[in-house]
């Protein structure tokens, strides 16, 4: 446990001393802020139009602003994840620091968990940092915070799952660019798998659709905490980290 924390802390400090973390925070906040502005602007315009036309249909800030925003969040995560995870092992392999870690009295699984945990913390930090915008909604409106938190949880879980896959991919190569590109490809593939169910209902299509990260985001998106979908993300995390451990072990036997 102590070792996991030592490794995690070093990873985090390394994210923040190199420009990666700041870059991601800035870019994400700018993009998220822009989208926030768009959705809110649209919402306000609609409200005013309705008022002018005298219709008083109920408007829901959760449904019309927060939900699509967090949906976009989960989509933006696809781009953020590879940028966070690509360096985890690839950089250590390139710099030779992997030799320090692998010959220290630390178990492989502690190294892996420490790294993955650091990546997840950074990811959550980026999402939360951008989510500061929601404070305005609470200040000037009256949104329901419970479904919002559940959707946020979904965004985190999805990120953590993709990061576990990214961690695994990062152990495969010395080259960060390759690790990043492969992770991005994997993320995208797990995203588009959900499309297949719209025109095909065969078993294969169902399996593919089930594998997609986005299929399982639906319930979180609606503000429903579904154990089934949470378990899907947890099992992706488990499988990803399990493969990472195997990959590190094979690194030892082969290299």
């Amino acid at each position: 446990m102590r070792n996991i924390w030592i490794i995690c802390r070093r990873e985090l400090s390394s994210y923040f001393t190199s420009p990666i973390a700041w870059l991601l925070l800035t870019m994400y906040s700018v993009i998220f802020g822009f989208i926030f502005w768009n959705f809110v602007g649209e919402f306000v315009k609609q409200g005013m139009e309705m008022e002018m036309m005298g219709q008083m249909q109920p408007m829901n800030i959760n449904e019309q602003v927060i939900r699509p925003l967090l949906g976009t969040s989960s989509f933006l995560g696809l781009f953020v994840v590879p940028l966070i995870s690509m360096r985890l092992f690839a950089e250590e392999k390139r710099n030779g620091t992997i030799e320090l870690l692998a010959t220290s009295p630390v178990r492989d699984i502690e190294i892996i968990l420490g790294k993955w945990f650091a990546a997840t913390v950074l990811y959550c930090w980026i999402i939360l940092y951008a989510s500061i915008s929601f404070v305005f909604l609470f200040r000037f409106g009256n949104p329901d915070w419970k479904p919002m938190l559940i959707t946020l949880l979904g965004v985190f879980l999805q990120g953590a799952a993709l990061l576990a896959i990214g961690t695994f991919i990062s152990t495969l190569t010395k080259n960060q660019i390759i690790a990043g590109a492969l992770t991005f490809g994997a993320c995208l593939l797990l995203w588009v798998f959900s499309w297949v169910s719209s025109y095909d209902s065969s078993t294969w299509a169902q399996v593919m659709s089930y594998m997609s990260v986005i299929t399982h985001f639906d319930s979180f998106d609606r503000g429903v905490l579904s154990t089934k979908d949470a378990i899907y993300y947890l099992s992706v995390i488990f499988v990803g980290l399990f493969f990472t451990a195997r990959s590190m072990e094979s690194l030892r036997w082969r290299s």
């Binding site: 490794i7 001393t17 710099n95 320090l100 010959t103 220290s104 178990r107 036997w253 290299s255």
Partner: protein
Amino acid sequence: MITVTDLTKRYARTTAVDHISFSVNKGDIVGFLGPNGAGKTTTMRMLTCFFPPTSGKATVAGFDVFDQSMEVRRRIGYLPEAPPLYLEMETIEYLRFVGRLKGLSGADLEKRVAYVCDRCAIADVKMKLLGKLSKGYRQRVGLAQAIIHNPDVLILDEPTAGLDPKQINETRDLIKSLAGDHTIILSTHILPEVEQTCERVIIINKGKLVATDSVQNLQARARGAESVLIEVAPRTGSLATPTVQQRLEKIAGVSRVQLKEERGPGSVFEVESDKGKLVRGDLARAIVEAGWDLNELRPSAMSLEEVFLQLTGSDTATTPEAPPAPAPPDTDAPAPEAKA
């Protein structure tokens, strides 16, 4: 402290280390010598538990590197060929990280960090980013990292590679000063380094153990007799080399005189004498008394370099298709090394 029995490492197609056995006593500095690609790094990586051996056994401080890997790792300090530095960290932050990783904490950690900074003379770069340090400093931070937890055994993979002559000397002195507290294995393909720093040598070539002995014994083994090179020149006219040769052969203790080279007026002879007999004074006197000039007199003792070439060279000749990955014994590598 370290025992290695029949240690073997096979990769997919090559055998990098082939049944080598040796042992190292507590407090020794042992030079691990071999041309590039001989299997030095592979052996060291097995000793440091970076990867397991294919077969054979190695123990460090009584613990098996495979079965009791954690115990071994606690007792080993390892400096890989490229110092394992996180370039975006500050020196002190890095040393603290490694210290924690090796199980130190609190006041103990601070004490050790201060100690290694002092010992490796890196206190003045404590607050600098590792990426901004010069090669020499990086190497020293690498050493500091290796000794931070006061390990019983230090394993240094080519600790002086890529340094300038001054830095090489500093690093060697540092390593020698560490010898009292730690058992040290250092690998190198630079021979003067072994002659200067180590007490014992383990020579491997193409994954096989070629020799293991003390530095003196190895030199003596290859030498047998002492020989000196002398350059003799006439005062006037030209030199009759056969006369000189006859004159020199008469000196007691000289077993063989051979004309090596004629350069202008002077000629160079190699004079071999019986083991243990110092004939240099007699040689000088004889030459001067005969009316010639003695321009140069130097020992042509076989350096470890020649021993090494002899040992590894003959091996190359007998097993030309020996497996491990490549690199012909780089005969010219030691040449540019400053023999400080």
